[in-house]
Amino acid sequence: MGATMATRGPAPMTVGTRLRAVVAFYAVVYRRVWRGSVIGRFLNPLLVVLSIGFGLGSLVDHSSGGVGGHDYLHFVVPAIIATQAMSVALGESTYQVMGYIMWNKMYLAMLATPLSVTDVLAGHLLAVALHLVFASVLFVGVAACLGAFTSWWVILAVPAAVLTGLAFAIPIFGYTARLETDTGFNVLFRFVVTPLMLFSGTFFPVDQLSPFLRPIAWVTPLWHGVELCRDAAYGQVHGADLVHAGALLLFIGLGWVWARWSFTRRLVV
């Protein structure tokens, strides 16, 4: 009897169908908020380029003649592509993930269906990746119109920014799934994000840091992302960029293992 009954039921779903189903949920969610999101994504580069690029930039260029032979505008804006990717990643991997775990328990609703923990995690990360593509393309496009870049190679800053965002989002998905309250996010923002913004070569080269602080930059994803975006924008892609990309892929790979372990522990009890 068991055998005959076991053969009933719908055919198993392919990986593609499962991931598309999860991404479709985030697409519906995004459809409700896209107007505000687009305005924010459009205004953000505009304000950054105007204030930091032109405003602060004129001071820097006037007093020290730019940074390493480049105008401050051309030095700082590519780095901000990477920091923006980090911000987008943080927005998507902290309160949102906690909400889906603890508040509206959306992940549990998904797991009551044929979807697995891997499907739920990979699908959500795919949606985050798409959001990063969208945000980075918009940023690069708007900033390019304002003359923030000197080379067409800046197009490569888009995949670099997406990798940077994922290098943050994936481990933070794992971190968030271990939290019982949202106070853990304060630790993340105060002791990880803010220092990274300041010490990853975004606003000034890491050479300016004391030798003790420099190694910190080397082990953070943001510095690697900043270097990649900057090299792309300068049109000076070289061998070291492979190392930077490799470092980001390492964060993504290890982050994936950690996030999947953490999600499984949290959601399958």
Binding site: M1, G2, A6, R8, G9, F25, V28, M110, A112
Partner: protein, 309 residues
């Protein structure tokens, strides 16, 4: 109804660290029946349900759902089940209809199939007028009906309902029970947990009474009452702080007396005769009530405690 077993559990256990939530239960659920887990909070009902739903790993014993092992065929099992969790996990920012459509895709259903099913289910859940409204402002009863509609999107062979009417007002409960009866008549197997004895009596063909992770009794509501209680119950309230002191006054009346903090329960086949005896002894209760025995009395007799505390 036939004898095909949708769920078969033998010595099923669930442990969380040192805590044993389900302590070796045997359960058979047949296709087409409405089966209940009745017990107070913490009895192990939800843990049992989550194991049957193939979302919570089995700690020990054997479990088969549709003849499949949840450890290896979880996705195939879940594809054929509908699940209504204890607390609604709808996306309240989305519309009623969006919640259904999104969920249908998790089962690999095409957009056209989901749209068609969603229309039928909104009608079934009496939510057609609210289809394009956001979920958040809906009443508790409406959200519950939407969760049930959502659980039916894949045409499940069995529906798992964890405390389906907890927190709803009486009218909303009756609407929900009516919907569940319709599903049962349509041949859907219902597996229900509840700590309401009236819900168990209304909905379940057969149930197990659970306490502290174990099954303490099993049978149809009627058979359980016949086996573990008397036909009628005489409830007496006295103007005292503790009813234990009044128990001696009615000693020997009826077959058995249970003492609760706020009343005495005299188990007897004829409540009016018992009340006459009480009055003849000169005992003057503040109030008295004769009623039929319920599953609440069965639980009290088996465990010495009440279901809802």
């Amino acid at each position: 109804m036939n004898d095909e077993l949708l769920v078969r559990a033998r010595g099923l256990r669930k442990e969380f660290g040192d805590f044993t939530a389900v302590d070796g239960i045997d359960v058979d659920v047949r296709r087409g029946e409405a089966f209940g887990f009745l017990g107070p909070n913490g009895a192990g009902k939800s843990s049992s349900m989550r194991m049957i739903g193939a979302v919570s790993p089995v700690s020990g014993g054997e479990l088969r759902v549709f003849g499949l092992d949840p450890a290896t065929d979880g996705a195939s099992i879940r594809a054929r089940l509908g699940v209504v969790p204890q607390t609604d996990n709808l996306d309240e920012e989305l519309t009623v209809e969006e919640n259904l459509r999104v969920y249908g895709r998790y089962f690999g259903l095409s957009g056209a199939v989901v749209a068609e099913r969603a229309r039928e289910l909104l009608d079934f859940a009496q939510l057609t007028e609210r289809a394009t409204d956001r979920v958040e402002p809906l009443s508790g009863g409406m959200k519950r009906r939407l969760t049930i509609a959502r659980s039916l999107i894949n045409n499940p062979e069995a529906l798992l309902l964890d405390e389906p009417t907890t927190g709803l007002d009486p009218q909303a409960r009756h609407i929900l029970w009516d919907r569940l009866f319709r599903l049962k008549r349509a041949g859907v197997t219902l597996i229900i947990t509840t700590h309401y004895m009236d819900e168990a009596e209304q909905l379940c063909d057969r149930l197990v009474v659970m306490d502290k992770g174990r099954i303490v009794a099993e049978g149809s509501p009627r058979a359980l009452i016949d086996e573990h209680s008397t036909r009628e119950v005489l409830e007496l309230r006295f103007d005292v702080d503790d009813h234990l002191g009044s128990a001696g006054d009615v000693d020997g009346i009826g077959q058995r007396v249970e003492v609760l903090p706020d009343r005495l329960l005299i188990y007897t086949d004829d409540g009016d005769v018992a009340l006459d005896e009480v009055t003849a002894r000169g005992v003057r209760p503040m109030s008295s009530l004769v009623r039929r025995s319920t599953l609440e009395d069965v639980f009290l007799h088996l465990t010495g405690r009440t279901l809802v505390d």
